[in-house]
């Protein structure tokens, strides 16, 4: 994809532009924000429950006096990182398995699809709960669980895309040239399903961010004192009558990020002629 077409994809509808802008703002604030803030995310920086607008604490402080702006800016980092790494592993590994299943077919394909069906039959939160009971809760476990959770869905979509490619002439001629199965899969098929993989990655990332924050909210994801938006909403509920901003602010941060991601993904999918609504879950 050339540079110009990337720009035209990113700005091809007002919704897409807004989405890309929201995501960009969020990424910049998560990456660079801490450079401009004098407090640490777990530092007790002032009196407790200051309202937003107080001097020195633009967005106030939480119940034990930690600067809320600092925690909000950093609160997306862990979940964005876990979600992106998990989603990336899911589409890359799932994609490779899916493409190979489409090309090799037969029993291998059947076996893999039955495993996919099995995983897809277990609702996500239940699967995570099972894993948390089994392996305990930590960031590496959470990342692997997210990857495993999204792999079957991505695998199925990418496999069905690869299936449309397998009967085409370029694949046939590669096989007749005497290329090995691996070479056909990596060099011929993978580049031709790349667009679907990119859209899948974007879709799974936004879905994974929602999942990680929901899990943190439930106490199955990121644990305190690490700042995380989902966790902050949960912790804020106890002060909902006296300090509703403790809930409203992280709710606003996470919602704008996911709305931005989904608008950007929708635009990306439309530009590539795919339908983003298909194949979530």
């Amino acid at each position: 994809m050339s540079k110009k077409s990337i720009i035209s994809v990113l700005t091809h509808s007002p919704g897409t532009t807004i989405g890309v802008a929201l995501v960009a703002i969020h990424l910049l604030s998560a990456l660079l924000g801490p450079l401009f803030i004098p407090y640490g995310p777990t530092e007790l920086a002032g009196p407790s429950l200051l309202a937003p607008g107080s001097s020195g604490h633009a967005l106030g402080t939480d119940v034990i006096g930690r600067d809320y702006l600092t925690r909000l800016v950093i609160g997306g980092r862990t979940s964005i990182f876990v979600a992106m790494l998990g989603a990336l592993s899911a589409v890359v590994i799932g994609g490779l398995i899916g493409v190979s299943a489409a090309y090799i077919g037969g029993f291998y394909d059947d076996a893999i699809m039955r495993i996919v069906d099995t995983k897809l039959s277990i609702p996500g939160v239940l699967f995570v709960a099972l894993c948390v009971v089994g392996f305990g809760r930590s960031i590496p476990v959470l990342t692997i669980v997210i990857a495993v959770n999204y792999m079957p869905g991505a695998l199925r979509i990418i496999r069905s895309q690869a299936l449309t490619q397998v009967p085409l002439d370029y694949v046939k001629s590669a096989r007749l040239r005497g290329e090995s199965k691996l070479a056909v899969i990596i060099r011929e098929l993978c580049p031709n399903v790349l667009e679907v993989v990119v859209v899948e990655f974007a879709l799974r990332t936004s879905s994974a961010i929602l999942a990680v924050s929901a899990l943190s909210f439930l106490g199955l994801g990121i644990s305190p004192p690490t700042p995380d938006w989902g966790l902050m909403v949960y912790e804020g509920i106890r002060q909902i009558y006296i300090a509703p901003w403790l809930v409203l602010l992280p709710a606003f941060f996470i919602s704008t990020l996911v709305i931005g991601l989904n608008f950007a993904t929708d635009g990306l999918a439309n530009a590539l002629g795919l339908d983003a609504a298909r194949g979530l879950y």
């Binding site: 069906d117 609702p123 709960a129 009971v133 909403v233 909902i240 996470i254 996911v258 879950y281």
Partner: protein, 321 residues
Amino acid sequence: MLTTILRRIGLSLLILFLVSVLVFLSTEVLPGDALDVFLTADDLVTMEPEQIEALRRDFGLDKPAIWRFFQWLSGAVVGDFGVTFIDETPVSEVIWEPLLNSLLLGLVITIIAVPVALAIGSTTGYYRGRKPDAVVSSLAIIGYSIPDFVIGTLLIIFFAVWIPLFPALILVFADASVWELLKVSIMPAVTVIIGHVAHLSRLLRAGFIEAMNCEFIERARLSGVPEKRIVFRHALPAAVIPSLNSVALFIAGLLNGLIVIEKVFGYPGLGLQLIEAVDKREVHVVQAITFLGAVLVIGMNLLADLSIIILDPRVRSHKNE
């Protein structure tokens, strides 16, 4: 058609079997074995080795894993999921009331959400690319982008804190009457409906657009069938029947939403039970709930596929599949 149906049922049973293997394995990978969860560190020091051995026998831990798996599975298919570690009540007893409560909440949501999503999906699909579609589609994206727990918490802030119409926290016991539960289920139901209607209507919109692009719609138009009849008698069934799969997926997704939202509002359902069980490492309860969730999803998918096979003339007349 009969062989197709039988094969589809067989496939569901196979998947159910694989799911139960996975669910059972989750306890096998635990560091140590089930005893370590059951016994505290003090117990391990004070108890005689013979006592611990006796307990192992009671739990069946001296038997091979495969034996225990079939033991567990034969119990699970008749609703016997073992006992809790803490006071040895049967798991089925622990989860029965919450299960009914969650089913009630899920039913309320499904009855409202599916028709609403169908109406929105077909309308936006019909006006595809025009203003109403653009506006509603954008709203739909926003709807399913906001996490369930955020929508729920916002509703609490608006309708419990600022305008005190509802209690912020549901204080109803698991064995409350249906009427009491329905009264408190308004806010949780609305919360889940917002996000899930947004999602389901997007899927149904895609199905409707696909149906409207079919050749037979064009032919009906050319032969002068009124537009209204085309939409309701031709396009809608052609869109809805393949979308039954999406509805099945929707119900699966609903489970995730229910778990989160029960925690937000304190609704005494299976989700709340699950979180509690994870905290207490009640492996048998988590296993049971996961197993039941998978049974529901597999059952829904089977139901959707069978309905499609029976209802859809395009699939029905197809000889091979």
